[in-house]
């Protein structure tokens, strides 16, 4: 099967659009995330402040650093907890929501925001020259239209660590 003859794929040859060096997507607002995980529930804030002793204990149990002392937690009227957390990698900042059942088990996990940012210049001058004269303005402006990236996303290792930390916070402070 020829992908071009079947109009499966149209190369963006004519589109000399600007490349982007940062990328951000909001998947869910706070309210949307709450309703996605606990449909129909009402939410009461029950934010948690982690003490020094608790921090030490959480870090000991999980091997994950506690960077932020305040954990944003809501109680769902239908039972369970809704937690918003953030994980920071070298190039990414991910905000996600995790719903916990009344027994502390993970009910559902949803990414709320995904931001990727690289502070570098394009070092390769020859490569950069390709854009000169092809664009008006800064060729490295943020292209807000970017939706679908072919090519690996960063690994979700940080999210796994974040969830481990959230579960320990639950165990140490909320149980």
């Amino acid at each position: 099967m020829d992908v071009f003859n079947n109009w499966l794929l149209v190369p963006v040859a004519a589109v000399i659009a600007a490349p982007a060096c940062s990328y951000a997507t909001q998947y869910l607002t706070l309210e949307q995330a709450q309703q996605a995980i606990f449909p129909g529930a009402d939410f009461t804030p029950a934010f948690v402040t982690i003490s020094d002793a608790q921090r030490t204990e959480i870090e000991r149990r999980t091997g994950v650093n506690v960077r932020v002392r305040e954990q944003r937690v809501w109680r769902a009227s239908t039972g369970g907890l809704f937690v918003v957390d953030e994980v920071i990698g070298k190039h990414e900042l991910i905000t996600y929501a995790v719903g916990l059942n009344s027994d502390g088990g993970v009910r559902q996990l949803e990414i709320m925001d995904y931001r990727e940012s690289y502070g570098y210049e394009i070092r390769n001058a020859a490569w950069r020259r390709q854009f000169i004269g092809k664009h008006d303005g800064d060729p490295l402006k943020l292209d807000l239209d970017i939706k679908n990236i072919g090519g690996a996303t960063l690994s979700c290792r940080h999210i796994a660590e974040g969830v481990r930390r959230v579960l320990a916070v639950y165990d140490v402070t909320l149980r």
Binding site: D2, L8, H91, D145, N148, G150, T153
Partner: protein, 294 residues
């Protein structure tokens, strides 16, 4: 149904060791929500069946037991193994899922089993027997990482379609497939500066998978190596380009990208014969027209 009533949902969850993103268009928000949740559940099922890390998965069970007894697997695992064997045969073993041992030694996979692996083991040592049973002729470890992600995307797309979404796109860390009358603009990462996103193509219906080493490259024996292993030579690729393959389904596209990463231009003819179309983005000149296997 008028266009103004079309609802779009876009969600992401961490699955398959990456972020899986599901986008769906349809008429009814409640319906779409169910469809998107079902698509994620499907991906999670594939993960449970084919994860190297989970001892209870089909892959975990085969790796522990199949050198001693025949192991019965789920129809989906069976389907993926069949596709993998077809690719291995067609590529004379360049594509090979029995590279789990090499990936373990390189530190890409955790130590999964005790005992010595047979370094001579190859794809042909994986015997697919009647009754969906699998037997290994030598002690080996399979890793379906090079093809199962694409399969998961195909199943998720199937799920969205069956749930009545009018259009949709599932993207599992760069292995993606779309359907419906929506041109999906796809950006590719620059091969050596992955933060740069280059507009690449509009995908109407079909799959595009991309493999590159940018987030997995490690230095071994003084050279940078990716996690993509040549099944014939048993060495990790040191490719600095990124390889994309367009095909009608994502499992095929996913598997074929490995051949392109491993053999570059020389694989393009084979990719084409197998129903794909290869594109290579080079580090020094990514905007040169994508080279396809014409």
């Amino acid at each position: 149904m008028s266009d103004t009533q079309t609802v779009t949902l876009r969600r992401a969850r961490p699955l398959l060791g990456t972020l899986v993103e599901v986008t769906a268009h349809g008429a009814c928000r409640a319906h779409l929500t169910q469809a998107v949740n079902a698509a994620f559940d499907t991906v999670a099922s594939v993960q449970r069946l084919m994860s190297f890390h989970e001892a209870a998965s089909d892959v975990g069970r085969m790796n522990r037991l199949a050198h001693r007894v025949a192991v019965r697997v789920h129809p989906w695992t069976w389907q993926v193994l069949h596709a993998a064997q077809r690719l291995s045969r067609a590529s004379a073993g360049v594509f090979d899922v029995t590279v789990g041992g090499e990936l373990m030694r390189l530190g890409y996979l955790p130590a999964a089993v005790r005992g010595n692996l047979d370094r001579r083991a190859r794809w042909a040592d994986v015997r697919l027997l009647p009754g969906r049973r699998v037997r290994f002729a030598r002690r080996l470890l399979i890793d379906l990482g090079g093809i199962a992600k694409g399969f998961a995307v195909d199943r998720a797309v199937e799920c969205l379609r069956a749930s009545g979404a009018s259009a949709g796109l599932v993207n599992a860390g760069g292995d993606l497939r779309g359907f419906g009358a929506v041109p999906w603009r796809i950006h590719l990462r620059h091969p050596t500066q992955p933060g740069l996103l280059l507009p690449f193509a509009d995908l109407a219906s079909g799959a595009l998978a991309t493999s590159a080493g940018y987030f997995s490259r490690r230095v071994r024996d003084g050279a940078e190596r990716t996690s993509i292993i040549d099944g014939q030579r048993r060495v990790a690729s040191d490719a600095t380009f990124s390889a994309s393959v367009a095909a009608s389904n994502c499992m095929l596209a996913d598997g074929l990208t490995k051949l392109v990463v491993l053999r570059g231009h020389r694989a393009c003819g084979l990719v084409r014969r197998l129903g794909g179309r290869a594109f290579i983005l080079k580090a020094d000149d990514p905007y040169a027209k994508p080279v396809s296997g014409a």
